[in-house]
Amino acid sequence: MGSKKPSAVSGLAALIILCVASLALFTIYVREGDSGPLHTIQLGASEVLRPVRGLLNLATWPFSAASERIEGVVDTSEKKKELEEKALEYEEGAAEAARLRQENERLRSLLQGEQPSFEYGPLARVIQPVGGQLTDRVVINVGTNDGVGPEQPVVVGNNALVGRTTSRVTPNTAEVLLITDQSFAAGVRIVPPEGSEDESGETTSAGGGPSEEESHGEGLLRTSWEGYLGVDYVDLDAGAVQGDFVVTSGRAGNRELIFPPGLLVGTVESAISQDIEQYMKIVVAPTVQADDLQEVRVIVGW
């Protein structure tokens, strides 16, 4: 008994010291910048673990493929048909928006005498998701060696936004914060599809990209903790309706040009205006499902 008491006391002291040490590490990590020592250590470790992650991803690929096949088999044909129709709608919407953007760019270039274009990094493969219960991030197999830097937009195809790179970019890997992560935010504009009528009854000009006047409002794209993608801070009189396209506006709060304008995010799934609320409640159906990501591209310049 006598020898157990000092052991218990030293155990308690060790527990307190280690808890304080952990909290000190947490505080340093939160307060230090992205180039701080703890962040740098994590970056180095991420680079070291890259082959292991790649191997594990390869090893689990048959399981994920099999689970997809099983899902396909057990799925009811009605649901499958519904999903296929939805996928087709998304593709059509994305194609339409891409055409609108290109037309918009062409008109802008006529006005400003310069042709805006995106400079892409090489095609990148998603290595694996990043751990953490409350985050939605993935690691891709391109890094600073490929011209990729922090805080650059990540897209599927030419212009379907899926996220942005974080500060964790190593020579061969980059971490991507997906649009479904609760800490992701982007300034977006809601634009009507070509040929639709606005509130005043005027039809948007065919072939003409959406101008500022034709916009159905601007806001901040965010994913709620309930899991849906939405646009916050859209004025009640903005006129957003179901089926409108959601594209980046080139602004995110006070931070300008994190994303170039015109990147397609999705379509408005529902838009509710209630007088009791200060802003519209807008839910967005994303163009690309973040869970199905295989290959992406980073826009390294625009």
Partner: protein, 177 residues
């Protein structure tokens, strides 16, 4: 090492326990993300620490929990210090619940200890973003659809896998006791 209430000491056992914790940290950062759905997934580090520190002296156990947590923080991309604190708490919980363990109840003990440790770990994950000045998930929602299924999943995992982990780190002599 402690089996029942007996304290044994073995350098070999500590080395094996440290290796188990290191492996758990590696799997936590590489394999767990692939198996996580929403807020629920296997917490391999917690299971590894709870199993590995079973039978170690208090100080050894706490240091091992801290080591595993720091390793997870380093290899993973999360906020540094959270896994370290989680590892220390998991070790402390394992020690505390281990004092009430009866012979032959390894699976039940591990499931209980892991369940309590997961609650602590999940609550830490809930508080961490708030402490870092970020927005956290709705508490009730997180408790019901995150913590509860997480605890159940990991307790079941610990019940079935924990015994095997213990056999991995126990030396031949210790298995006879």
């Amino acid at each position: 090492m402690v089996v029942g209430n007996n304290v044994l000491s073995g350098g070999s056992h500590i080395v094996r326990a440290a290796l188990l914790v290191a492996l758990a940290a590696l799997l936590e950062t590489t394999l767990s993300p692939l198996l996580t759905f929403g807020w629920v997934g296997p917490r391999i580090l917690v299971i590894g620490v709870v199993a590995a520190v079973m039978g170690l002296r208090d100080l050894q156990a706490l240091l091992l929990g801290f080591f595993g947590g720091v390793l997870t923080d380093t290899l993973g991309g999360g906020q540094f210090g959270i896994a370290a604190l989680g590892g220390v708490l998991a070790a402390a919980i394992s020690i505390r619940i281990g004092t009430t363990r009866r012979k032959g109840e390894t699976g039940v003990f591990l499931a209980r200890a892991v369940a309590v440790a997961i609650v602590a770990y999940d609550l830490l994950s809930l508080i961490a973003p708030v402490l870092a000045g970020q927005e956290g998930p709705p508490v009730v929602n997180y408790l019901l659809s995150g913590v509860v299924p997480d605890v159940l999943l990991n307790a079941v995992l610990a019940y079935f896998v924990g015994g095997r982990l213990l056999r991995l780190i126990a030396t031949k002599e210790e298995r006879w006791i």
